[in-house]
């Protein structure tokens, strides 16, 4: 015997359509019959003075048909190794930079080799799909233009060669240096589609 909800689907009780969330350890998450494979971060990364993809931040996603907003969030570990490690971060949607996501993080300047600043960095943006035309630099993309997979990721760089930062790196542990699984810090990615 069929369930009543097979014939009359239960309405969603809130405006969340789906949540995809995971650690960049290579896992595959299946939501609503679609599978998403996260990056697999196996080492730490020193930034350079050119923008490069932040390892583990990338996810390929096509939102459900009735989506109005897509929230993307990436938590990553930062270490300022030179003079505070001033570094810039930006979110890129299918190759186009979302300027409204530009941010920098840094510890304070130290000229004594005291490069201790370590904390979680976060890049987040809520894409607006209710618009009628695209302005991806402002995070606006018409739903009719996001019907197939697009890649969302974070790119990062040092401010200059004098201000070097690392990502995905825990430098210390229990009074000494971190190593192995404690040293590499895998980013966490979250996607929420709102109706």
């Amino acid at each position: 015997m069929a369930n009543l909800t097979d014939i009359f689907p239960a309405p969603t009780s809130n405006n969340i359509i789906e949540v995809i969330e995971g650690v960049a350890d290579g896992r595959t998450v299946t939501v609503n019959d679609n599978s998403y494979t996260f990056g697999n971060v196996t080492t730490t990364t020193s930034l350079s003075t050119s923008f490069a993809d932040l390892p583990g931040s990338s996810i390929t996603y096509a939102p459900p048909a009735d989506t109005k907003y897509v929230s993307y969030k990436c938590y990553f570990k930062f270490w300022g190794i030179d003079y505070g490690g001033i570094s810039g971060y930006r979110i890129v949607l299918d190759g186009t930079v979302v300027n409204y996501s530009n941010r920098h993080i840094s510890g304070n300047y130290s000229n004594g080799g005291n490069n201790h600043a370590q904390f979680l960095g976060m890049a987040m943006f809520v894409f607006d799909l209710t618009v009628s035309s695209d302005n991806i630099a402002a995070g606006q993309i018409a739903k009719s233009n996001w019907t197939s997979d697009k890649i969302i990721k974070v790119q990062a760089r040092d401010y200059s060669s004098s201000y070097d930062g690392y990502v995905n790196y825990n430098h210390w542990f229990d009074g000494g240096g971190a190593s192995g699984a404690r040293q590499k810090d895998q980013p966490t990615i979250q996607i929420i589609a709102y109706g």
């Binding site: 009543l4 909800t5 009359f8 239960a10 309405p11 969603t12 009780s13 809130n14 405006n15 969340i16 003075t49 923008f51 109005k68 907003y69 929230s71 003079y83 505070g84 001033i86 810039g88 930006r90 300027n99 409204y100 996501s101 530009n102 941010r103 920098h104 993080i105 840094s106 510890g107 304070n108 300047y109 130290s110 000229n111 201790h116 600043a117 904390f119 960095g121 976060m122 987040m124 943006f125 809520v126 607006d128 209710t130 402002a138 995070g139 760089r157 401010y159 200059s160 201000y163 929420i192 709102y194």
Partner: protein
């Protein structure tokens, strides 16, 4: 005419009643309880030594009738503009400070007030408890939240030698800013839970 749900109530898929979540760029978000327009932040904000409202943080809301908890979260970019940028961030509901939501943000002091490189993502956050029997705004407790209340963040610097800014991107790549944009809109998240 009756609804089918009057006879066969739909199963609740979770205890989340609604979420209003977006960048403070003036967008309007429609959820079950209404349509909400987020603030439109178009520049950064230097703090002073007096408390002032933080741009983008203000949100006026009346939760659905069956809400038991309301979560308010204001994510913004914190930037030291002088020294360690010691700064104080209070959360207010209809003008009353929620004392346990207070945040102090700062970076390390280098020994030189001219060194102000500190910058990170910061949050002011609380969860209102609507299951209580009487109101205590200072404790984020409301027994009868049936009409609009305004929630916002108010901030100041510790002193004129420890300065900070909200929503400011001071260094991005060589040339300090990117594309002429030296600010970033904050993000508001309101969640009503049953």
């Amino acid at each position: 005419m009756n609804s089918l749900n009057n006879f066969f109530p739909a199963g609740t898929s979770s205890n989340v009643l609604e979420i209003i979540h977006g960048n403070c760029d003036g967008r309007s978000i429609e959820v079950g309880s209404g349509t909400y327009t987020l603030p439109n932040v178009t520049t950064f904000q230097h703090l002073s030594t007096s408390y002032a409202d933080v741009a983008g943080s203000s949100f006026t809301y009346a939760p659905p009738s069956d809400a038991k908890y309301v979560s308010y979260k204001f994510d913004f970019h914190w930037d030291a503009t002088s020294s360690a940028g010691i700064s104080h961030w209070r959360l207010l509901v209809d003008g009353t400070e929620i004392t346990k939501a207070y945040q102090q943000y700062s970076n390390n002091y280098s020994g030189n007030h001219a060194h102000h490189h500190g910058a990170f993502e910061a949050t002011v956050y609380t969860v209102f408890d609507l299951t209580v029997s009487s109101d205590s705004a200072a404790n984020a407790q409301f027994a009868n939240w049936t009409s609009d209340k305004t929630i916002k963040v108010s901030a100041r610097e510790y002193a004129s030698s420890y300065q900070a800014a909200a929503n400011r991107v001071e260094y991005f790549g060589s040339g300090a800013t990117f594309g002429g944009q030296n600010w970033i809109p904050p993000i508001l998240t309101i969640i009503a839970l049953s």
